[in-house]
């Protein structure tokens, strides 16, 4: 007879089933135990379900027990478990199989699903290590940094871009229609101009090289105009402080990262979008300021340059698991 399986099981029943199992398998069981267990089992359908799962665990081991290598198996199983590292290595290889040429691992790794779908189907997208230049229907020039995704939504009234992930540099063409960029942190309106927009998890960075860009934050609805030569970070809740524009936010279009006192952690983060695998940074050195020009297409060379200039050591566990640690 097939009975429909319940959809829930209480934790308490499973706990009781586990306790019974242990009592029953004692080599000197109490004479009452078997009978009491029977009573418990008959008390409730849920008890029988719980017992079923405890039994199933035991059966799994039973299959292994028939092997006369239980010693060897046990030794293998007792060995310390995976570290987060090896698990991520496994995931990494999985992802290479599963997601192929999609946006950079780091960029979409932490992305909520709705946004992930948006990135998947975006009009323009770049993968790891890829910088792409394109021209939009109105003649606007658009550069996509590695691991970026943008949708273009132009009609007779507005020119609208949706930035889903990563960074773009935009050189807008003259047109009577207003030019907007939307992302989850707010809306930017370009007022005749060249500027970059970089989206990370918690915030968006805007750097204006020419003309003016107006920000309107998504949640707090604050507005601010940023003139050429300035940059700012903002998110849905508010605006950060206005600072002098840094060349790095434009230099990537030439495949170079121009660091002018950029914290090492951020630099490695940006470099990471140009290589496969993990590039980590020990927090102890993440704040070190870095000056110089670093080739994005040759991240190995960039790492060598960094190692020569800073008190750091590049540690390689595998080719695609590299971390930067304090030097000795």
């Amino acid at each position: 007879m097939i009975t429909p399986r319940p959809n829930t099981l209480s934790h308490a029943s499973l706990q009781q089933a586990a306790d019974w199992y242990v009592l029953l398998h004692d080599e000197r069981p109490d004479s009452q135990v078997h009978q009491q267990w029977q009573q418990w089992l008959e008390q409730h359908g849920e008890h029988r379900d719980a017992w079923h799962y405890v039994e199933r665990v035991s059966q799994r081991f039973g299959q292994l027990q028939q092997q006369d290598d239980s010693q060897v198996l046990r030794r293998a199983l007792v060995q310390p478990g995976r570290s987060g590292l090896t698990r991520r290595q496994g995931l990494k290889s999985l992802l290479v199989l599963g997601a192929g040429s999609l946006v950079a691992w780091s960029a979409w790794r932490s992305t909520p699903l709705p946004r992930l779908i948006a990135v998947w189907t975006a009009d323009f997208a770049t993968g790891t290590g890829e910088v792409r230049e394109t021209r939009l229907a109105d003649g606007t020039r658009l550069w996509l940094n590695a691991g970026s995704a943008v949708d273009a939504d132009f009609d007779s009234a507005v020119r609208l871009l949706h930035l889903h992930a990563g960074e773009v540099l935009i050189d807008t063409a003259r047109d009577t229609r207003p030019f907007f960029i939307d992302n989850r942190h707010g809306r930017l309106q370009a007022l005749g101009t060249r500027f970059s927009v970089r989206q990370s998890d918690g915030q968006t960075g805007l750097t204006v090289f020419d003309g003016t860009v107006e920000i309107r934050t998504a949640g707090s609805r604050q507005t601010l105009r940023i003139p050429a030569g300035q940059q700012i970070t903002f998110n849905a809740a508010g605006l950060g402080a206005v600072q002098a524009a840094t060349g790095a936010r434009e230099s990537w279009t030439r495949h170079v990262l121009a660091a002018e006192g950029m914290p090492l952690g951020q630099l490695l983060d940006e470099l990471g979008a140009f290589r496969r695998g993990h590039l980590g940074c020990n927090p102890a050195v993440a704040g070190l300021p870095v000056m110089g020009y670093f080739p994005l297409d040759d991240s190995e060379q960039s790492l060598r340059l960094l190692q020569a200039a800073l008190p750091i050591r590049v540690q390689r566990l595998t080719d695609w698991w590299v971390s930067v640690e304090p030097g000795v």
Partner: protein
């Protein structure tokens, strides 16, 4: 992917994210890793959309994917090597058939994945009982703890594994 696929996926995500996250946290012992794998589980589904006829069917399917993802590739290799090297030292007559070998390997992975997040002592006690069939008193002597402690360890391990087994069937354990 059609728009309706994407709607279905959104719905699946909304109704299953919560327990799946818990399921994975129990397996991995880490919330951030669990969140990552929840994501990967849905990505799998995104790459190969399919329809379900029941809520627990959905849960069971997602749990199976998530379990597969949480089994570590490298750990898998390591286990296989240990086992295969043990096999080579056996006389030929005792070698398992390829089917048997595959079955044992699968079980080994499953068991390994279930036990990984348990404390070392609990794991040791459990394996000594389940694989070697040692009585509680001998396990207690080997681990240098009381028999009462051994029983506690065993119940803890069993509960943990049974929970995972139940969740694999799409059951919600509350």
């Amino acid at each position: 992917m059609t728009p309706s696929d994407s709607t279905v996926l959104h719905q699946l995500y909304a109704s299953h994210r919560g327990w799946l996250q818990q399921f994975l946290r129990r397996r991995l012992g880490d919330s951030a890793d669990a969140a990552d794998l929840v994501q990967d589980t849905f990505v799998r589904l995104l790459l190969r959309p399919r329809r379900f006829d029941s809520h627990s069917g959905e849960r069971s399917y997602l749990a199976t994917i998530a379990r597969g993802l949480s089994i570590d590739h490298w750990r898998r290799k390591q286990l296989e090597q240990v086992w295969l090297s043990a096999l080579t030292s056996r006389p030929e007559a005792l070698q398992p058939s390829p089917e048997q070998a595959a079955l044992i390997m699968e079980t080994l992975h499953e068991v390994d994945a279930m036990l990984l997040r348990l404390p070392t002592r609990v794991r040791q006690a459990f394996l000594l009982a389940q694989l070697d069939g040692l009585p509680y008193r001998e396990i207690a002597a080997q681990l240098g703890v009381s028999e009462r402690m051994v029983k506690k360890y065993l119940a803890q391990a069993l509960l943990h594994c049974a929970l995972l087994e139940a969740e694999l069937d799409g059951l919600l354990v509350e």
